[in-house]
């Protein structure tokens, strides 16, 4: 853990050093404030008000499905010596989920809607 912490600090330190260095090397350190590029149109609304994600249903399916990873990793390291029972149990579980995914697909959960 200590070395992980050290690396975290060191890598952010490098980033910070680059930022400080850029203040010296740049033609001017004061940021140039611009409007976002919109082919010359002036922005009239905030950026987020013009777009809507179309994959809400897919994200719900994703959140439900990814719970399975909680069980998958501890299972992965013991399946070798637990034997066929563990394989059957986990893949039965996954098959059930994949059937739910197939059902969700028929409902159009993975299409833009």
């Amino acid at each position: 853990m200590a070395s992980l912490l050290f690396l975290l600090v060191a890598s952010f330190g490098i980033v910070l050093a680059l930022r400080v260095l850029a203040r010296w090397t740049a033609v001017s350190a004061s940021p140039f404030e611009v409007e976002p590029w919109l082919s010359g149109h002036p922005p009239t609304e905030h950026a987020l008000s013009r777009y809507h994600a179309r994959w809400y249903t897919a994200s719900v399916v994703f959140l439900a499905f990814d719970v399975e990873m909680l069980f998958m990793y501890p299972w992965a390291i013991v399946v070798g010596h637990l034997g066929p029972g563990a394989v059957v149990e986990m893949f039965g579980f996954l098959l059930m989920l994949l059937l739910a995914v197939a059902w969700a697909r028929r409902e159009g959960a993975f299409r833009w809607a």
Binding site: M1, A2, H46, L48, S49, H52, A53, R54, Y56, T57, S59, V60, V61, F62, L63, A64, F65, D66, V67, E68, M69, L70, F71, Y73, P74, W75, A76, I77, V78, V79, L82, G85, A86, E89, M90, G92, F93, M96, L97, L99, A100, V101, W103, A104, R106, E107, G108, A109, F110, R111, W112, A113
Partner: protein, 190 residues
């Protein structure tokens, strides 16, 4: 009082998690609120790491960062106004909520301090993760078995609630329209 590195780390995590948690309801920006909650979760994950639960710590960080990334989208899309540009207060019954919060803290905190906790029995096994793997496959198999239907039910209920077009809208009344009629083409079978 001798303070070990673990103690320092824990107090750091404690402060970060509570402050970030409070910021969720203080900051004006929806993205900042969501990512403050993510920081709070990461701090709790690190605290779990310090308490000898490596797998739980990492998996909390993994799951929560992922979920907060999705959460941010919902925050931005469904808040219905634009607090990134204008500060907002979307709070009701502010005083009673604060009272409830303080009351909760006093009650739980008093319990934490006053309950005569038993001493630790047993010691952690050498490899907590593989012990966990064996537990969910053998002694606590019922958890896995129960979780399967729960997740299937979540997928089904979630899809039913969140999609506004059903299979009949897509595939026709006899479910035989191919390719399906979707607002935007894509995916498999197109």
């Amino acid at each position: 009082m001798n303070l070990s590195l673990v103690d320092v780390g824990f107090w750091l995590c404690a402060v970060v998690s509570v402050v970030a948690g409070a910021l969720v309801f203080y900051v004006d920006s929806m993205a900042r609120a969501t990512y403050a909650l993510a920081v709070s979760f990461v701090a709790v994950g690190v605290a779990l790491l310090l308490m000898g639960q490596a797998y739980m710590g990492v998996i909390v960080i993994l799951m929560m960062v992922m979920e907060m990334a999705v959460m941010a989208v919902y925050m931005v899309m469904f808040m219905g106004m634009n607090p990134a540009l204008m500060p907002m207060s979307m709070v009701h019954s502010h005083r009673s909520s604060i009272a409830a919060g303080v009351g909760t803290f006093l009650l739980l905190g008093a319990g934490a301090v006053l309950v005569p906790w038993p001493t630790r029995r047993g010691a952690p096994t050498g490899d907590v993760t593989s012990a966990l793997g064996e537990a969910i496959m053998e002694s606590h198999m019922i958890v896995m078995i129960a979780m399967g239907p729960v997740m299937v039910a979540t997928i089904v209920a979630g899809v039913v609630l969140s999609s506004h077009r059903t299979r009949y809208d897509r595939l026709g009344d006899d479910l035989d329209r191919r390719p399906a009629d979707d607002p935007q083409p894509g995916g498999v079978g197109r």
